[in-house]
């Protein structure tokens, strides 16, 4: 499954884009946050400085934090929301 991941902050500056795409293979037809994070590590090594560990990290899925085992469906809005630094 092809998953587009929204990126922000220094990750977006580094990629010169507000999103990156990954090809993800999960178990059967099920793709999880862990699978997407692993694919990001493998397919976008330049973004590793901003990527959390696939087993303990999180992504935002449909505007809510999702942990490693949570599923991602086709059409979901997926975003990398690590390295937050507001305030």
């Amino acid at each position: 499954m092809r998953v587009e991941v929204l990126i922000f902050g220094k990750a977006a500056v580094s990629a010169k884009s507000d999103r990156v795409a990954v090809e993800v293979t999960g178990k059967g037809s099920c793709v999880t946050v862990r699978d997407v994070l692993r694919a990001l590590h493998e397919q976008h090594p330049a973004l590793r400085f901003a990527l959390p560990d696939p087993d303990s990290g999180r992504l935002a899925v449909n505007q809510a934090f999702a942990k490693a085992d949570e599923a991602i469906e086709p059409g979901d809005e997926v975003a990398l929301v690590t390295l937050v630094g507001g305030g």
Partner: protein, 146 residues
């Protein structure tokens, strides 16, 4: 009462007044109601110098910070965090504003006001909120170097 808003640009006196006017009940709840014994206001202000990670952490002058928010998750995150902090510290009210976009040096980008029965709860709540804001609310800042 809980209020959380993301505001475009710096949190000038005028910008804050507009939010107060639109959400008067929330701001008034910081003071009124009889149970309030302490109110604390925290402002985040853009500093002139920041460490530049791309220059081995050296301090560099900047002209502004550019805040990027992931909307609407960012405002929902502020609201959710405000609710959690209010409950944990027994606050009477909490109002939080955060800028989106460019905020110049010396300008306010973040306002947090909390009230409670006693000062201890307000002091702990502000420290707790600011720590968790940086971890849990999708807002990024980019330095605009001088």
């Amino acid at each position: 009462m809980i209020l959380a808003c993301i505001v475009q640009g710096p949190l000038t006196t005028e910008a804050q007044a507009r939010v107060r006017a639109a959400h008067a009940a929330a701001w008034e709840s910081l003071t009124f109601g009889g149970g309030v014994g302490a109110k604390l206001r925290f402002e985040g202000i853009v500093r002139r110098a920041e460490a530049d990670a791309e220059a081995e952490g050296r301090q560099r002058d900047l002209v502004a910070l550019d805040y990027q928010t992931y909307d609407p998750m960012a405002e929902r995150g502020l609201l959710s965090l405000a609710g959690e902090v209010a409950e944990r510290h027994g606050l009477k009210a909490i109002c939080v504003l955060h800028s989106r976009g460019r905020v110049g040096v010396g300008e306010v980008s973040f306002v947090l006001e909390v009230s409670a029965a006693h000062r201890g709860e307000t002091l702990a709540a502000v420290a707790d909120f600011v720590d968790r804001l940086k971890r849990d609310v999708p807002i990024w800042k980019r330095a605009v170097w001088a």
